[in-house]
């Protein structure tokens, strides 16, 4: 097992005929993901290296049995693309696109979440997710992962790779690595993914990679206290960032008294979650837990 994506995943890529979409879609297929369809309105009936293209996601679901989608369309079309997948009853929607206006996501995310408990939206502005050895949906480099017992959930991209790398170097594999993205309103937050890891028999330890800004980490700490039996190791990037400076992600802004790295570390430590001071120490903490 794994969470969200696995051998049963049948992927449709929205924007497969685009440069980025075809590059990453085919890369995911090369990894072993079952890429069953692409969607580009008006290009239905064509194919991209053997992958059939449909005009709508609904057709891709009906005719190719797609059950997961990856959104790789430009920001101005991305909210619509997410809604299209949702409306077509896609179970896992992974939106890689960055730069979607917050007002769009302020409507899309609550809508997707409130109407159908089964659909999971990952992202937008995220690297996607990988269940090593089973399926890769997004841009996380598959080579650095190994199958194993550690679930990873992270707000950032390359920092996740760094942490996966640390674990793999120590011979510790991953069940699923989920990049939830750095947008103000992510489709799934730490809590959603932690809840799935808790239920996944293959996941034994969870690594949570947070950042300064917002209060997603603080809420995750409370969730861990109340609902998680599995050990969690956390890492927070930006502990030394000066307050008020924007650090790339919209999510990485210090807002008021909450949201500082120190407050997040304290919140985790208060509920017994070990916090690594750097990516290497995160690996070491996981190793300790596995050894214990």
């Amino acid at each position: 097992m794994a969470i969200l994506i696995d051998d049963e995943t049948r992927l449709v890529v929205q924007g497969l005929t685009g440069r980025e979409g075809s590059f990453h879609g085919l890369r995911n297929r090369a990894y072993g993901t079952n890429l069953v369809a692409g969607v580009t309105p008006g290009k239905g009936g064509t194919d991209v290296e053997g992958v059939p293209i449909f005009d709508t996601v609904e057709q891709a679901v009906r005719e190719a049995g797609a059950n997961a989608s990856m959104v790789f369309v430009p920001a101005r079309f991305a909210a619509d693309a997410i809604l299209e997948s949702y409306d077509a009853r896609i179970a896992v929607i992974v939106a890689i696109t960055e730069g979607i206006p917050a007002m769009d996501m302020a409507r899309v995310v609550p809508y997707v979440r409130s109407h159908n408990g089964d659909a999971a939206l990952i992202g937008p502005n995220c690297p996607g997710l990988i269940s090593p050895g089973k399926a890769n949906v997004g841009i996380i480099p598959g080579e650095i992962c190994e199958p194993g017992p550690v679930g990873i959930v992270s707000r950032s991209g390359t920092l996740t790779y760094q942490i996966v790398h640390e674990l793999t170097q120590l011979g510790i594999g991953q069940s699923t690595c989920v990049g939830i993205g750095g947008d103000p309103i992510p489709g799934s937050d730490f809590i959603d993914v932690l809840g799935r890891f808790e239920k996944d028999p293959e996941t034994e330890v969870v690594v949570l990679v947070g950042e300064i800004g917002g209060d997603a980490e603080e809420r995750a700490a409370l969730f861990i206290q109340d609902h998680m039996s599995k050990p969690v190791v956390a890492y927070i990037a930006g502990l030394t960032a000066p307050p008020g400076k924007r650090m790339g992600h919209a999510g990485a802004i210090i807002s008021g008294s909450k949201g500082t790295g120190q407050a997040k570390v304290a919140a985790f430590e208060a509920v017994g979650v070990k916090v690594g001071r750097n990516p290497t120490e995160v690996g070491a903490l996981v190793k300790d837990l596995r050894g214990a």
């Binding site: 990453h24 920001a75 101005r76 730069g99 979607i100 206006p101 917050a102 007002m103 302020a106 409507r107 995310v109 609550p110 809508y111 979440r113 690297p127 841009i139 996380i140 480099p141 080579e143 650095i144 992270s154 707000r155 950032s156 991209g157 390359t158 920092l159 996740t160 790779y161 760094q162 790398h165 750095g182 103000p184 309103i185 990679v209 950042e211 300064i212 917002g214 209060d215 997603a216 809420r219 890492y235 990037a237 930006g238 502990l239 030394t240 960032a241 000066p242 008020g244 400076k245 924007r246 650090m247 790339g248 992600h249 990485a252 008021g256 001071r277 750097n278 990516p279 290497t280």
Partner: protein
Amino acid sequence: MDLFEYQGKGLLRKFDVPVPEGRVASTSEEAAEAARSLGGKVVVKAQVSVGGRGKQGGVKLASSPEEAGQAASQILGKTFTDQEGRGGTVCKRVLVERAGDIKSEYYCAFLLDRSIRQFTAILSAEGGVEIEKVAETDPDAIARVHIDPLLGMSDFHARELVFGAGIEPEARKGTIEILPKLFRAFVELDASQVEINPLVLMGEDRVVALDAKVILDDSAEYRHSFFGELKAVHEVPEQERIAKEKGLNFIKLDGYVGIIGNGAGLVMSTLDVVKAAGGEAANFLDVGGGAGAELLSSALEVITSDDNVRSVLINIFGGITRCDLVAEGIIDALGRLEVRVPIVVRLDGTNAEQGRKMLADAPHPMLVAADTMLGAAQKAVELAGEGS
């Protein structure tokens, strides 16, 4: 993008939000002329995007055009800092507004509450002061409502705010009318914040937005033709501007270890690791995802042009970004720039081996390879002449 007060008010006016009559001036002559055309008493206000300008002498009352000109000449060119006394932004424009009889000051804000995935509207019967202070001293004066983005603002939200905050009876009607207009502006402008402090009660029970702090979502620029115009008057430090033009996410900091990385999280983590190794970062520079050789070369150019930088740490974990292209960019930069500080390079991920080999094959006295992120940070700090 943080708008200047006059820009925010200009946008709010399109949504029928009552704001005082006023004109922008960038010289004391223009300010005097503005005061003359407005007539009567005016207020001359510094147009800077930092808070607390009042305490720094950025808001002055003037009862004649001459006084307005004098006030403007005192404000224009003055440097304003943020509320913690940091930074410094020179005032280039003043807003000259007709002064009115203010009976009461309130506070009002609309923003996006990430935790609950809803909009939050705040109304306080005490305005003109920092809302955080009111929250401490008189929390009952503050009313909050959550607004579901799918449903939008309904009349009852406005009533709950007005009755909840205990707004005076004569200001109720005006406030209940202005709130949905502010909400509509907030949504339709793609704002991430609309803050009115103070919202004031004036004569004839008129409720007016006396100040406006509007922050727009840069991601929505493509659907608003006015963005470009508003942006044109915003000035950013030279180095940041150049970096931005080249597509780099760059922020200047106070230290001496230049940092280049791919991905905001990894760069923040690199800053933390440098600090832990006893160093101080000179900047935050994220080349983003999928950076090619040219971007890396530009990044090095931006960083090494800073005299404070004593060493550079390049920390790349390749995903979409290919380490061979990163190496190519570094080699290019070393060839065309006169680099006088050591550059520590750590490459991992996509095509890392190839990239490392390319660098090894193109030796340069200032180029230092590192195997790990921690090791690279340590080395960069050491080479800057500091370290634990």
